[in-house]
Symmetry: C2
Subunit: 335 residues, 2 copies
């Protein structure tokens, strides 16, 4: 590989001059600069980040840890958002995932140290609280999660409360007063927040909540749940005394509600309004009828998290605490 020295020799200047040009430093005459740039181009010189790291102790690399599980491929948008911002800042992204196992997590932290990562983004695939075995030694921003023990740790999460509120208001504004809610596993933070928002929003309009119309769409513990929304929805909708609108914990639940409604001869949205959550477009946009749903702003979450980490690396001390991003409602045809 051609090194800075080859370029220097080719032009007849010192290494340092080439270094200056390569790093866009001042104090190089326009003429020299042009000659060096020409040589760089003809020789195909590409700087060696490893060598640079050895001197500067800055790798130009940001690490991204995810806990991705095979069945939840939606939040790749987080990664896209991160990537776009990181590469705009001329940094690179080293990615690793824990697959949920903490021994793997240990290995990853080590790998990151070996590469002298500048900072870390720790992303979870659903909004939850995490606790660290050992506190990360490098600047870290949490993505889609918050730290159980350290509330001040920088984090970017969706505003699930707001999203739940907006969804409920949508149903209310459409004139519904018989509103059901088929939820996620209620132990998940997102479910908790959205549930609270549902209660508050209903109360704000003085509409009563019917407890028998609020049921979980999943069975089983976190990470091992099985979708049962179809049966739950059929059960709820078969009665003559039934809801006319259904809020749901995510688009998969909403999809099963669609099937349930159709199986009972109920037209959506005329006989029953259905509102999804997540805006997982592969489902929400392609189901019949397409879903009105609340979007989880994954791409923006990734962007913000990356920007905040970059700010911290640039020495901005003000970047502490949890940031909540709004969840805009996407109106399609289902409710």
């Amino acid at each position: 590989m051609v090194s800075i020295r080859d370029v220097a020799a080719h032009v007849g200047v010192s290494d340092k001059t080439v270094s200056r040009v390569a790093n866009n430093e001042p104090n190089v005459s326009a003429r020299t600069k042009a000659r060096v740039e020409a040589a760089i181009a003809t020789l195909g010189y590409v700087p060696n980040m490893g060598a640079r790291l050895v001197r500067t102790n800055r790798s130009g690399v940001i690490g991204l840890i995810t806990d991705v599980v095979s069945t939840t491929p939606n939040s790749v948008d987080i990664i896209r958002g991160v990537q776009d911002r990181v590469s705009a800042a001329k940094q690179s992204l080293l990615i690793a995932n824990t697959a949920g196992a903490s021994e793997i997590e240990q290995r990853i932290w080590r790998t990151f140290q070996e590469h002298r990562i500048d900072g870390v983004l720790f992303a979870t695939m659903y909004h939850r609280r995490v606790s660290f075995v050992s506190r990360p030694t490098m600047p870290t921003v949490l993505v889609n999660c918050t730290a159980a023990d350290e509330p001040d740790m920088p984090a970017v999460v969706p505003d699930d409360y707001e999203g739940g509120y907006v969804a409920t208001l949508r149903a209310l504004d459409q004139g519904h007063d018989r509103i059901g809610f088929i939820t996620l596993n209620p132990k998940i933070i997102a479910a908790e927040l959205r549930g609270k928002a549902f209660v508050d929003a209903m109360a704000s309009r003085g509409v009563a909540i019917r407890p028998e119309w609020v049921r979980a769409g999943y069975l089983g513990a976190i990470g091992e749940e099985r979708l049962c929304a179809y049966d739950v929805a059929r059960d709820m909708l078969r009665a003559t005394d039934r809801p006319t609108a259904l809020l749901t914990g995510n688009d998969q639940i909403a999809m099963q509600c669609l099937f349930a409604a159709q199986s009972l001869g109920l037209r959506v949205p005329q006989d029953l309004a259905i509102i999804g959550f997540d805006d997982f477009q592969m489902i929400s946009a392609q189901v019949i009828p397409p879903l009105t749903t609340v979007a989880l702003p994954y791409y923006k979450i990734g962007e913000r998290a990356a920007d905040r980490l970059l700010a911290i690396l640039a020495g901005d001390a003000s970047e502490a605490g949890v940031e909540r991003l709004p969840c805009p409602i996407v109106v399609r045809a289902s409710g």
Copy 2:
């Protein structure tokens, strides 16, 4: 950061001895080795890959380029497969995506060179042919794609022909002889291969193909297609002379067929069998009824691609050519 020299001083040996221990090289007495290891642990020494790279010209990093587009988040499994194999080999993964834009692709190749990547995996999110602006300078394995100009370039792709054949046989074996096919954009390689398989499999049993029952489920050019399978399926199924089984280009098409069937009062699979493709579980497993579908072996594709690249890096010259991985059929309830 603590360096090899600190460890050496702490134990009272030379740098090189510590280096030997850190790299598991022979010719260190058990006693010295133990003492060095103890010092490494207490001082918290972590080797600096950058420095190592400068000497050895091996970064221990593999680059993964994807062309991921926001609407197709399924093939993340490729990434998981790659990651698992790469980290098993104690290498790291640098990820970047082109978002389809070739100027970005240029920048990425450069970034990879800056980090003196050992090798590259070039992954596409749907099976297609790619052509390179400039031939990659480092060892490369193609993932889910083949090179337009260089048939010998190592590549790992799904065996779409086999998958299409198996799907057709499934319908045939269930006793159907009125089989329709709602396809992907026919310009996509996968569609072409599966289409050929459909023709061949039907011929192998002497069952005639009805051209009016073979129609595209998408409208528009590659990358901008709009799903129209619902309308197409309804059109096909409304006639008295209608197919009793529907093969589909992917699970989204199959899902829309499900809605179409239900809207016409057709029961699946009793009145109409539907077979998906991809086994995108978020849909295939959660639709009512769950889909019988052909699985795209994304995880395995990732694993194999990584293994082949690692083999090449280890000096194995035999790793050339395209490898096709079987697409197993996953039998659920729809057909």
